[in-house]
């Protein structure tokens, strides 16, 4: 890689992770400044305690859902239904456990979890079917389940909040193995996905589909299967997250479990630097993004502000991060535009020439490659339109 020869500073400057990491560190430091005990972690009864541990524990469901969402977004999609799916998973697991012969036994918990995840698999298949086979816009296709899903969860719980007393089930969301079990599950999933996508060719294929589905199909990729798979994976992630949420409180609340978590997950992915336009994705970015969101929530809470007000801060973070990552803004910082017309982009031929003559200058500073999108777009635009004249 040409990036390998670049200095660390250069790499950081071009990296999409820079701003998210800075934001996370700033948040943590701000907390530490207000409350010196914030960063301390103590060990008691084989459990770790402390604000940082709380952040990890409470951030686990968001992280898990964001993980699935990252892959969906990488294929140029989005899954709005994950919150509803999480609610359904919790509802199904709890009702199954309560309805079993011995609601306190591990067997009941395992059955409940199994049934819930199987159902999530089906829901993922459904989303994938709408998107990959019927070709419906992902936002809309998953909107269906987002709308109907909570209704289904209510149907399962009959509109009640179902409480369970099952120690085994409780472990998923509230248990500890030194670290909270929930974050261990989420991190294990993250590592597994990272290994599977980066050690095999899956990551490349997913990115290809996201960047250009038709070109990928013509290169022999099974685009539909890949798209379908990521929706199933996202739904299963949502299911596990739903189990964590309901396990943590030992109850299924069809109305409020996982409410707005799809938005948090999308934010985590976007903050982490993966573009909503699909293609290149960053799992480490998603991890940082999810941590930022949870830290923000914790910060607001610890400041004694009503937890609901977190939304305002989330909004500000989203706006700031999106503006920083907007191609227009980056372009404005990155390179000078022809005088007087910051909005115009160089013509295709001019820019191809530029690329030919000066190939080195872009890559050294930006190992991620996606950083300077508008240039690629400028080259793209005229030709993709020409396609209309064919068929």
């Amino acid at each position: 890689m040409s990036a390998a020869t670049a200095t660390f500073a250069q790499r950081m400057r071009g990296s999409r992770l820079l701003w998210p990491v800075v934001a996370l560190v700033a948040l943590l430091l701000a907390n530490a400044a207000r409350n010196p005990g914030f960063l301390s972690v103590r060990l008691q009864d084989g459990h770790l305690y402390g604000s940082l541990v709380d952040i990890l524990k409470n951030g686990a469901p968001t992280l898990l859902i964001a993980l699935g969402m990252t892959l969906v977004i990488a294929t140029r999609g989005i899954d709005l239904s994950v919150g509803a799916v999480a609610a359904i998973a919790g509802a199904v697991a709890c009702t199954t456990i309560v309805g079993s012969s011995d609601p306190t036994s591990p067997a009941a918990a395992v059955t409940g979890i199994g049934v819930a995840l199987a159902l999530c698999l089906v829901l993922g298949l459904w989303n994938g079917f709408l998107v990959s086979l019927l070709g419906i816009q992902p936002i809309i296709a998953t909107l269906v389940l987002m709308t109907a899903g909570r209704g289904i969860a209510m149907l399962v719980t009959d509109g009640q909040i179902i409480t369970v007393r099952n120690d085994f089930f409780r472990e998923i969301g509230a248990g500890f193995l030194l670290f909270p079990i929930s974050i261990l599950i989420a991190l294990a999933a993250l590592v597994a996905v990272a290994l599977v996508t980066r050690r095999t060719a899956l990551g490349l294929l997913i990115e290809s589909v996201g960047i250009n589905p038709e070109a990928s199909r013509l290169a022999g990729l099974r685009s539909r299967t890949i798209i379908w798979t990521v929706y199933v994976f996202a739904a299963v992630c949502a299911g596990v997250a739903g189990l964590m949420i309901s396990s943590n409180v030992s109850a299924a609340d069809a109305n409020n479990a996982g409410l707005w978590i799809e938005m948090d997950a999308i934010l985590a992915v976007v903050i982490g630097g993966s573009s909503l336009a699909g293609g290149r994705y960053s799992l480490s970015g998603t991890l940082v993004g999810a941590l930022i969101i949870q830290t923000l929530t914790t910060t607001v809470y610890s400041m004694g502000i009503a937890p609901e007000v977190t939304l305002v801060f989330k909004a500000l973070v989203v706006i700031a991060v999106c503006l920083l990552q907007a191609p227009k803004m980056r372009a404005r910082f990155a390179r000078r535009r022809p005088a007087g017309h910051p909005a115009t982009q160089p013509s295709a031929d001019a820019d191809s020439l530029a690329a030919q003559q000066d190939p080195a200058d872009h890559d050294a500073a930006e190992p991620d490659g996606v950083a300077d999108r508008p240039v690629a777009d400028a080259v793209d635009a005229p030709d993709t339109k020409q396609k209309v004249t064919q068929s």
């Binding site: 709308t147 934010l267 907007a326």
Partner: protein, 334 residues
């Protein structure tokens, strides 16, 4: 097509049914659906077939009608506005809090309308000038508006202002003993105004043009930036009006009012036959979409044994039906 004209053109409208222009076919379908649902209600439940039941559809959904009108503008340009539900909540909260503080009602109304419109303008500016997807910008707007509700107050605030109370209780009697509220009148006036603006002004036609092809609209020399921002401003304004109507309906302000109402608005617009890709659709379709949602709610309440969550499932199913229908039509045409 074998030897002569190659089918190079794309028809975004829908297939041909004799006697009905393709563009209005989805609206006709929605109308038929509404009549069918109403018919089912009339056959199954006593007292369903009354003018008042019909009028109640409008009374109970006046705010949703207004919201759907604003959403139609945005979706016609090819965008989406997720913030409207939150803006409704913010409007109720703002109205309730300022009224409680003793500010006169007319000023409160102006303030609420200004805040809603302002938020819309802000989102529109960011969407257009920074080229960030409407989805993510309005999502941030939704968070902001919801969060601001709780900045004002976490608890529900009731409204005791005489003007708002008068609006809430005041009714108009139509011939035949049917009673409607002022909210209905306001909603219908807004629908009429929107129809006129969309079809008889350059602004309205530019909204359609942007939805048809934004790059073409730019090259045709149309004021794309202004119109796009204005579409979000209108959506924000409509959300503020809807918020005022909602606060009249509930006589309270609360940060958890209208949770998920943006989805109902989007669903109404889609069921009303507007293409989510933009450029094709009618405000009257959106009105019909709201009425379909309303009649489903009414059916479920008349049934009595069905729980309220069936409404959500029914809306989701209908949404699916219409989306798949849109998809099949456009696929056949392309």
């Amino acid at each position: 097509m074998t030897t002569t004209t190659p089918a190079r053109h794309r028809v975004p409208g829908l297939s041909k049914v004799p006697g009905i222009p393709g563009r209005v076919l989805p609206v006709v379908a929605t109308f038929v659906l509404f009549v069918l649902l109403f018919g089912v209600g009339s056959v199954r439940y006593e007292g369903f077939t009354s003018g008042q039941v019909f009028a109640n559809l409008f009374i109970d959904n006046a705010f949703l009608i207004v919201l759907a009108v604003g959403m139609t503008f945005v979706i016609l340009t090819g965008g989406i506005d997720l913030s409207v539900g939150a803006v409704v909540a913010l409007s109720t909260m703002l109205a309730a809090a300022t009224l409680r503080a003793g500010i006169p009602a007319p000023l409160v109304i102006l303030l609420v309308l200004a805040v809603g419109t302002g938020l819309g303008v802000l989102m529109g500016l960011v969407i257009h000038h920074f080229e960030i997807q409407p989805f993510i910008v309005t999502l941030a707007g939704m968070f902001l508006a919801r969060g601001l509700c709780f900045v004002i107050g976490v608890e529900s605030i009731s409204i005791k202002d005489p003007f708002f109370r008068a609006l809430a209780t005041g009714t108009i009697e139509l011939p035949g003993g049917v009673v409607i509220t002022w909210s209905v009148v306001i909603a219908l006036v807004i629908v009429a105004a929107a129809v006129w603006v969309l079809h008889r002004t350059r602004f309205g036609r530019t909204v359609y043009a942007i939805g048809g092809s934004e790059s073409s609209a730019t090259l045709m020399g149309l004021p794309v930036a202004r119109v796009k921002v204005a579409a979000y401003a209108i959506s924000g304004l409509c959300a503020a009006v809807a918020g005022l109507l909602f606060s009249v309906y509930m006589l309270s302000g609360y940060g958890l009012h209208a949770v998920g109402m943006e989805l109902d608005a989007i669903a109404s617009v889609v069921i009303g036959g507007t293409l989510l890709s933009g450029g094709v659709g009618f405000v009257l379709g959106s009105l019909l979409g709201v009425l379909v949602l309303g009649v489903i709610q009414t059916l479920i309440s008349f049934q009595g044994t069905l729980s309220s969550w069936w409404t959500k499932i029914a809306i989701g199913t209908l949404l699916l039906l219409f989306i798949v229908m849109q998809r099949l039509f456009t696929r056949r045409a392309s």
